[in-house]
Amino acid sequence: MTDSATIAETEDAAGTITVLYFAWLRERTGTGEETMNLPRGVRTVGALIDWLIARGPGHAAAFASRQTVRCAVNQDFAGPEAPVGPGDEVAFFPPVTGG
């Protein structure tokens, strides 16, 4: 009981994150936004991508070419080592092409 109580606490403390997808990442995942509990053990953008790839073929296709995927955490560009924590908004998208 002590073990499972600890796990439950950890999951609660982890809270939720919002993940956004733009351009062809939105098309491949089939969603523009999903809210999820911060997966256990995920503390960085890179770890989050690993976890998302395992969700299904759409997500796997979206992240198939990881070096062409860009990320922003809380609306700030972020690399794979950037921390991800409870309440964060994490966005994935291709290199920008405006202007």
């Binding site: 956004l20 733009f22 351009a23 062809w24 922003a72 609306q75 560009f77 908004e89 966005a91 998208f93 291709p94 290199p95 920008v96 092409t97 405006g98 202007g99």
Partner: protein, 157 residues
């Protein structure tokens, strides 16, 4: 003496003359205004385009644009600047983006306009999708030339 930047993301067209007038209104300290306006071309890699759709990341866009503007104001002695970017569906010939920089000196105004468009192209969360005449659609790919153009300003930092 310098005004806060004007930053807008909008679906409707902008009025270029009105933006020049707004930036210069009531001022007599401006010596020159540098401007770039980007428009939708009807071809990409030899294929005819019938429309272009611009997607963006609303929560991030204006912050990113404000940061680019603030950076320009810090690098050059600007008296003001304007950044307007359209989103949604656009047709060939339509305006996409306007950058405008005012300074006492012409070189600062022109250099800042070049900087603003180079950084908008590489640091603001917009994505273009082109629809071709055969009905096919494709996301525009970022190109190395844009990254190089942006990088030249980084070295001067």
């Amino acid at each position: 003496m310098s005004k806060p930047p004007t930053i807008r993301v909008q679906t409707e067209d902008f009025d270029i003359g009105a933006e020049f007038a707004a930036l210069g209104r009531g001022r007599t300290d401006i010596g020159g205004l540098g401007c770039f306006v980007g428009t939708v071309r009807d071809t990409a890699k030899g294929r005819l385009i019938v429309s272009m759709t611009l997607e963006h990341y609303p929560a991030m866009t204006e912050t990113a644009m404000a940061r680019i503007a603030a950076d320009a104001m810090q690098r050059w002695p600007l008296l003001g600047c304007t950044l307007i970017h359209r989103v949604g569906e656009l047709l060939p010939g339509d305006n996409i983006v306007l950058v405008l920089a005012a300074s006492a000196h012409r070189q600062a105004a022109l250099d800042a306009a070049g900087f603003l468009i180079d950084w908008l192209k590489t640091r603001a969360p917009f994505w273009k999708k082109e629809r071709f005449i055969d009905g096919e659609e494709a996301w525009v790919q970022a190109n190395a030339a844009d990254d190089e153009a942006a990088a030249k300003w980084a070295t001067g930092r």
